[in-house]
Amino acid sequence: MKQIPAPLWTLTVGVVVTVISFWVGYNHGFLPEQASAQAPLVDDFFNIMMVIGTALFLVVEGAIVYCMIQFRRRKGDDSDGLPIEGNLPLEAFWTAIPAVIVIGLGIYSVQVFQEMGGFSPGGLEHDHGMMIAQAHTGAMGGVSEDTPDTPEARQQLAKAVYGFGASIDNEGRSADLEVNVSGMQYAWIFTYPDTGIVDGELHVPVDADVQLNISAQDVIHSFWVPQFRLKQDAIPGKDTELRFVATKPGTYPVVCAELCGGYHGAMRTQVIVHTPEDFQAWVDQRVAQAPMSVDAIAQNPADLSDSDYLAPYETALGVDARLVAQLSQASADDIINP
């Protein structure tokens, strides 16, 4: 058996691993720009996991490589290694350390989730009793069995439960701006209930507390803005909510993240975060124009965005777009009477 490494050696390895882990954790550069109040919360959490993960990775992989070199069979040696069958303290140690780490991560998750507004979709704040009661009927009971029959009641119930609500700073307040988001094959439609504006791109003012009421017309879609680190499925028959504060003016992609058909990959548009003045100007300009009809948007998803990345699909989508309206109609029919 090899000698236990000298303390100095262990110390050096420990320091090197620590330094590398912290460096990797905070310099990996894998995450895109942060553009929402939630993004730094998620990133801090991810980075800490990167630090811990890198350290564990280096230690385990290091041990494997060390063994591979140190304990390789030498030429002509056909004997066996030592019959060591276990070591209770060591095994207890490597069960306890990960257990402590994951418990820590679990607690941290709950905290970050709360700060992000994960506990208060539908303005429920922290009334757990109510949440659980509703959650049960919503998710497990099956809508058909034990909920009131009226669609409004059903909507109310669903709306009250899923998604992200006010982040911790805005708790108890209603949002500055509400936008209804509707997903369909293969476009997002944004409706501003206060002004009647309908658009294929999302426009929001910076630093405002925005609430998206998300629904889906045909199949499940998922509303994702990578720079916001936020994602929420758009689910037919269950309204969901996503509340965020954009922190940086700019243009960011809105991506559909749930497989929704052949052109799922092309179901992209953008969110434009304006300064408050620009946003007001946009609203004024749009209100002055005749409001666009939903149909016009739905039939031309490729026209919704001028951004370059959609250009390659204009033909593909153009062809498809003419079908979209019929298709989604047909599919709706299908669902009712196949």
Binding site: F57, M131, G261
Partner: protein
């Protein structure tokens, strides 16, 4: 080791069964009840499906070499996507690892002449054939296109005929799993040679036992969910039709209640293979036998209560997102225990770098990364960002390709001499390993970054900013495609012409090595007697004073 035992306690009524001295080649194409024939049938068929599923993946990667959808029709892309996943899970890893190695090895490892229910066993194999036929046949109807998860309403409105065939295929595959599971549980429970105590049971058998229990609990739930889906598509019911009061999220619960445990169906038997291969080629007893055996059972228990981590962005309430975050994180602990135990098994060994060992160590190296990314995915706040992105694709390929596929290869190299009586060629084996290892990392490592930066999964067209990384992945995938060739050539050539291997070519201690290679039809003339543990390496050090 084992000695002759004259009191032959045959495997049930099997010894009454009439059979020739030796099977002819054509016997392998019939409804044969010998567990070794069935094992080989599973291994060969599942490998064929692996190649088919692999070609689909190559077609997808070729499409993804450019951001535009310019090679495949987008609907065909989705059909490949769906069937690639389905085939790899239900027709390659599950039947290969459990059906193939499980059937071939379990009776041999416990000193039985066959499985408890040989006919049921043959039936379990043969129902996987219609499953495969249905999937391939569905391409005449456009192929199922809703992903291997087949969430409604998409699955209700796309390619109805193909989708129905897909459902039937999974029901067949699930039936096979359930039949197999019952058989394994009874066999391991009842048919060990009398001299074998529970703590002398090889860890592979423990793993198959845990897997079987898991399959038995979870598969019926999937079957129920899919049958409801089938009714919705074909018989006018509306379980999952939102417009008619159905609940689409309910389907996701039913689906993941099975399909999360399904990922353990795909890795527990592999863990079992690892626990056999590593001690033999490191020449050391397995470190922490009990910890490994019990951690399999813990994983299988906790694994039944983590399924909502696939639904953090779906219609799930806050308490559920948090509860399942914590339960998911807990699974990482027993998983870690196994990894550490294998590393400790290497420590102080005399490692022989056979191809089997290289694949086992390769698995260890990559599985660590897959486990770590799994932990990050298990926390709801981070998963909200990366759910349904390439980050998830990277995670599950590290555990499934870097894990399960590497494990199956390790098993091939390790037990090929037992199964055929010939070694696989080591030179080709090492070439195979190097190509596969580089290919896997080249294909799947960059995908982490893609997902974190904003590329969703299951897309045929993507934002051009991701093109370079995608091209690296595509290159890696083609390297993986090429890497299969040395193995195929090796396996076909060595099956009859490889260097002759004796009964115990690796000098291993489990019972399958106490008989000839390949074993006689009822495994032993006289059943072996267990006189020491399955991993009693290095005992000579104890006797030398």
């Amino acid at each position: 080791m084992a000695q002759a035992n004259l009191t032959d306690r045959g495997a049930g009524n099997f010894s009454v069964h009439h059979h020739p001295e030796k099977w002819k080649w054509y016997d392998y194409f019939t409804f044969n009840v010998d567990h070794k024939v069935i094992g080989i049938q599973y291994l060969v068929t599942s490998f064929a499906f692996y190649l088919i599923g692999g070609l689909m993946a190559l077609a997808m990667r070729a499409e993804l070499a450019t951001p535009n959808s310019d090679l495949l029709d987008p609907n065909l892309y989705n059909a490949f996507l769906t069937n690639h996943g389905t085939i790899m899970i239900f027709l390659w890893i599950v039947p290969g690892a459990i059906g193939g190695f499980g059937n071939y090895l379990v009776p041999l490892m416990i000193g039985a002449r066959d499985m408890a229910f040989p006919k049921l066993n043959a039936l379990a194999f043969w129902v996987t054939i219609p499953a495969g036929a249905l999937l391939l046949g569905s391409f005449f109807f456009g192929g199922a296109q809703a992903g291997w998860t087949s969430y409604p309403p998409l699955s209700l409105i796309t390619a109805n005929t193909a989708q129905s065939m897909w459902i039937l295929a999974i029901v067949f595959a699930g039936t096979s799993s359930i039949l197999g599971a019952v058989n394994f549980i009874i066999t391991i429970w009842k048919m060990r040679v009398p001299s074998m105590d529970w703590d002398q049971l090889p860890l592979f058998c423990w793993a198959i036992l845990a897997t079987s229990i898991l399959a038995l609990f979870s598969t019926p739930v999937l079957a129920a969910g899919l049958v409801l889906l089938l009714f919705d598509i074909n018989f006018g019911t509306s379980f999952f039709k939102p417009d008619a009061g159905g609940d689409v999220v309910m389907y996701q619960h039913l689906f993941w209640f099975y399909s999360h445990p399904a990922v353990y169906l795909m890795i527990l038997p592999i863990f079992g293979i690892m626990s056999e291969v590593i001690p033999v080629h490191a020449r050391k007893p397995i470190f922490g036998y009990k910890a490994i055996a019990y951690s399999s059972l813990t994983i299988c228990l906790v694994g039944l209560f983590v399924w909502v981590h696939h639904m953090f962005t779906s219609g799930t309430p806050p308490w559920m997102r948090m509860f399942f975050t914590v339960s998911t994180l807990i699974v990482a602990v027993p998983t870690g225990v196994k990894i550490f135990s294998w590393v400790a098994t290497l420590w102080g060994g005399k490692i022989r770098y056979t191809s089997a060992m290289l694949f086992a160590i390769g698995l260890l190296v990559m599985f660590v990364l897959g486990g770590l990314s799994g932990v990050t995915l298990g926390t709801a706040p981070v998963d909200i960002h990366v759910h349904d992105t390439y980050y998830v694709v990277a995670h599950f390929h590290y555990v499934l390709f870097g894990g399960s596929v590497f494990g199956i290869y390790a098993g091939f190299y390790h037990w090929f001499p037992k199964i055929t009586g010939h070694y696989l060629n080591e030179g080709l084996g090492k070439l195979h390993f190097v190509l596969t290892f580089i290919g896997t990392n080249l294909t799947f490592l960059p995908m982490h970054q893609l997902g974190l930066q904003g590329m969703p999964r299951r897309v045929a067209m993507y934002d051009p900013q991701f093109q370079t990384i995608n091209q690296i992945c595509t290159f890696g995938a083609f390297l993986l495609g090429v890497s299969v060739l040395p193995f195929l050539i090796n396996a076909i050539w060595s099956w009859s012409r490889g260097a002759k291997a004796g009964g115990n070519p690796w000098d291993a201690k489990t019972l399958e090595w106490t008989t000839d290679s390949p074993p006689a039809i009822e495994n032993w003339e006289v059943l072996p007697v267990v006189t020491q543990g399955p991993y009693a390496y290095g005992e000579e050090h104890l006797t030398v004073e």
